[in-house]
Symmetry: C2
Subunit: 331 residues, 2 copies
């Protein structure tokens, strides 16, 4: 049905080869010829077939974005959304299209990888593991890790200073005089969890306090769970005066718990979050939080992946984007 290069060729009288060149590398064909070819193409409503093109070039100009975050049923959560936006922009600018999928889709029942030859490279976001990376590498698929860190030879990881960010949050609370600080720790990838937990402990210790288990709760990053856990920390006469939550959704849960218990924020209870996602400005007062440079993360990951696809060697193993404390009304 659709016109092919042959139809155009016949209509304008030039060979298939020349027509092909007119589209794929216009500078190699005489201007006058090119015009005639484009004219013919237009009347036939012809566009080069991307599949046939990919077939012979061995490249599709498609990139995959795959999110592994088991705890979130929603593929696109407030943290990844801006990252994704940035990845999409970068890819578009450089002529690539973007595939997206959750982890379920990567492997088909028969063990095939549906990704094969469909994609020129893959961005793995969240907590993927060595096995997944190895699977992809065995197929010579360029890979970049996003918001995760795995120590594998030549594997590029784009992440942030998790420990430093945690420190920023804790030092801010300590500076304001808080000593009884609760930790609401979300269940993320080990890399993320461990770094932020360590920052919590180190900061307290440095300030002469002892981290106490009764002030610490592990929670799923879901508002309801966070509310429950926060209520425990806020109950009793020995309650905490501040809470460090390891992401904004959890922090908002903590604030909601406080409001429901009649506590004033920040006078009675201060809350610091992490990520600076959209949510952080939805609540009132707005949330003090650790801002992660999500736009850069996405851009860098995409750019490095594309460099790799286009033949350059990865120059560094790990790239850390900056973190910054944004102080708002909750502290």
């Amino acid at each position: 049905m659709a016109a092919t290069i042959l139809d155009v060729s016949k209509l304008c009288g030039y060979s298939k080869a020349t027509v092909s060149r007119a589209f794929a590398s216009p500078e190699k064909v005489k201007e006058k010829t090119r015009e005639k070819i484009y004219q013919a193409a237009q009347t036939l409503n012809y566009t080069p077939d991307a599949i046939a093109r990919a077939m012979v070039r061995g490249r599709t100009d498609n990139i995959g974005f795959i999110i592994y975050e088991k705890q979130y049923p929603v593929v696109l959560n407030p943290f990844y959304s801006p990252i994704f936006e940035s990845v999409l922009q970068t890819c578009t600018r450089r002529g690539y299209s973007l595939f997206i999928s959750s982890d379920r889709e990567l492997r088909l029942p028969n063990g095939q990888t549906c990704v094969k030859k469909q994609l020129d490279g893959v961005i793995l976001a969240g907590h993927s593991d060595e096995r997944i990376v190895n699977d992809l590498r065995r197929q010579n698929m360029p890979v970049v890790l996003l918001n995760n860190r795995l120590d594998m030879e030549g594997l590029l990881c784009v992440t942030t200073d998790q420990y430093g960010g945690g420190m920023l949050a804790m030092e801010h609370l300590l500076e304001r005089g808080h000593r009884k600080i609760g930790l609401l720790a979300g269940e993320f990838s080990p890399h993320v969890y461990n770094s932020r937990y360590k920052a919590y402990c180190d900061a307290l210790t440095k300030a002469g306090c002892l981290p106490e288990d009764r002030y610490i709760r592990r929670v799923e990053p879901v508002t309801e769970h966070a509310i429950e856990a926060a209520m425990e920390l806020l109950n009793g006469k020995d309650r905490v005066t501040a809470i460090f939550a390891t992401n904004d959704t959890i922090a908002i849960g903590a604030m909601k718990a406080a409001i429901r218990m009649g506590l004033r924020i920040p006078q009675d209870i201060a809350v610091v979050g992490y990520d600076d996602s959209e949510n952080s400005r939805m609540i009132e007062p707005e949330l003090t939080t650790v801002r992660v440079d999500k736009a850069s993360m996405g851009r860098i990951a995409a750019e490095r992946l594309i460099s790799q696809i286009e033949g350059e060697e990865p120059c560094r193993d790990t790239i850390q984007t900056s973190v910054e404390l944004v102080i708002r009304g909750s502290t």
Copy 2:
């Protein structure tokens, strides 16, 4: 580098055709043969090449999801995120992969549609227009509209009862005795905007009130703008006692404005939102809002598109999913 069907063929002694069948339609090959072929494939780490496959079948098993919402810089906003999730699930279950893009990506500089032959069909979300649909149709591309309505021959639109939803919200406020009701109307597609605006006017009129321009503000669906507009409505002695916001982000802006002005929710000012996005439960008190069945929207759009791809004729032009009022603390 990567193994092809020919390598497998040589290793196991069967012809290319049989190897191909072993993967594409296993029931057509003897079990014993199949096992040997799989074995050989495994040792060679072979997987059928999706591109070559697409080339000969004329199908890619890829679907595109394209969002047109100019006012939102973020491709994936809280409204579309669950819809997208649902689309992704449905596609995955039925063996399709998902491409995503904003409108910028659809057309390349030279006027080509990069979509051509890469995709088996497209879901157009947000306010796309006739021109776009026609472009795609000229290439025989199956199309489904999501959250929008265009009167075009045989075009399937999956939407919701915008007017009915608006009515639910307004009648709820009227029942609670409110008469001075403000409208914060987000700038969405004409279809959406007009329906909700009409519901606002009709409900008021039916209750014997006259819609007044001073109670109505058009706003971009961004929290800051909503806060400003809400403050205008809440100022002065003649202020409104309730606000109907045409989406949750705007409603949250209204609530934040009220809180900042020292008004109590819902005693001094009631707020109803629209969409029931995640945000609606982030604020305290939580937001009364019109729930849109986003999961169904996504599922239905994907299913109908796939039916169309697989050869069935669309049965209805417009499908409306249900709306429902969720009453929470803000009213």
